[in-house]
Symmetry: C2
Subunit: 342 residues, 2 copies
Amino acid sequence: MVRLRRKLGRSQEMKLASLKGGRDGRLVVVSKELTLAVGVPEIASTLQQALDSWVEIAPRLEHEARLLERGQAEGALPFRAADCAAPLPRAYQWADGSAYLAHMERVRNARGAEMPASAFTEPLLYQGGSDNFLGPTDPVLLADESWGIDFESEIGVITDDVPMGVSARDAVGHIKLLVLLNDVSLRNLIPAELAKGFGFFQSKVWTSFSPVAVTPGELGPAWDGSSIGLPLSTTLNGVPFGHPNAACDMAFGFPELIAHAAKTRPLGAGTIIGAGTVANRDESVGSSCIAERRAVEMIAHGEAKTRFLKFGDRVRIEMLDGRGRSVFGAIDQVIERHVMEL
Amino acid sequence: MVRLRRKLGRSQEMKLASLKGGRDGRLVVVSKELTLAVGVPEIASTLQQALDSWVEIAPRLEHEARLLERGQAEGALPFRAADCAAPLPRAYQWADGSAYLAHMERVRNARGAEMPASAFTEPLLYQGGSDNFLGPTDPVLLADESWGIDFESEIGVITDDVPMGVSARDAVGHIKLLVLLNDVSLRNLIPAELAKGFGFFQSKVWTSFSPVAVTPGELGPAWDGSSIGLPLSTTLNGVPFGHPNAACDMAFGFPELIAHAAKTRPLGAGTIIGAGTVANRDESVGSSCIAERRAVEMIAHGEAKTRFLKFGDRVRIEMLDGRGRSVFGAIDQVIERHVMEL
């Protein structure tokens, strides 16, 4: 019993995905190499169901993950990212931070805005829409290129129930899974929307997720309890765009972001918290969104050269471990024109 | 078939609630007089499940509602607000508008702030947290009175799936249910939070809901397709605080709020949209939040006299129809101190 608890707290290792089907997908356990998946309907049908009773369900999922690695899981099938919905196809909470100050500084510098005084002392979070998430290869449907379509390559965590007023120290234990995500943003709608004072609404649209969510233990030493010490790679139409390290130049780690979010209220199981566009001070590693690259261009050359996304553009976001293996699988999606239903 | 469709579109009549139990409650159909309730597990276990397949499930729920009115529903039991969770105890989206400009004008006038230029031409919405809603008689647990605890008495709608880019004209058909709600706000945390530019987070905490959600048809002529033409009554510690009419001085109706929310993205089934603190230009009807009354006091007397909420204060929000019957049942809750778990 004591051994099981220590194991659960310290080194639980598994990868989970939700195959497309219904509104909440179908939970599968995925092999470390992302080659095989096995459904677990007798344990939990959906990832939300697993998160709702994580203490009881996680050990059973991990047992299945071990069987899968040993080639002993009954009914295992090939795993393909294209079959995946987001790990949580819809969620009860999605809040995104802005923990990489190099990103905030560049973007604000370029438009002549000051950093908020509190930026260095407390995290900045916004409440996002969580009713319709995209899977890793789903097209990003939008009606108008002139909105200034941009990607934001990020890492995020999924929590169990977090009590109101939790400390950062205790928050780390509530991080049950990690994901990659693309927080699609409409740059040309942001200024007018933020000027109204209530934050983003129309300017933050789709959020897309990596094929699998992984437990902290699955990351090994790359997870330090605060972030993931690996580069997050983005390519645009096959051309490398950026590969900043997600643990480098992060002003606030995930435990601080969770504690900030839970200061005045509890967070429900399945809450997803992002850390914002990953950015390093070292400009040579490139950027995780177009707006930031445009800001760097403007500072260096007086004008932005890189255009925002057009229909047909393809964005790929992936994180490789020290041995070059994809940890989460890739987000790999095309921007497409949405035609209104009549 | 044609008759059924016309009926569904025009005059569906029922009241629904979720009794406490599990994370998503247990769906019941409630009688018009709010005296009886009957579980419908063979139709749908939860309200979210009903909204996910509304076209198929709603007629069956309505049939049960008719049996209940006739005294023919098997297993009907007394209905009590204290047994209720929120109609959706957790939801995939909660967005709140600010459609009553008298409220916005008073509050901004009092703090010397201008109305945003767009206030008169397009709706203002913020994305709220939807992972933990309160039932009508649940205590409002908060850690600190100095945060400036306030209520906001509102009406809201619950939609089915709304397509991206929907027009206001088509949006009205996606309004499946209406509710009352209390959008608890921490006034003293708002200025610093809004100054950071990303909208509310820590300053918008609990949202509490009326015992029942009702279909538009249930409201009869009080529903004009845009709002509810009845006064929304709030009492504080038993003393009348305000009773503005919810259809009066509303700059944007629910169809406009939904169209604004869906301009760049679809809305998932079970999306809840609020219209903001109900307020009329006529000051004699009182207010639906303390901040607004304080603003009126400040303008009239140079200082605000009404204090924000303290632990032990009780807020009651209710809407009576033309014959004095409670339409939604009452939100009736006490502010209580949250003691941190150690």
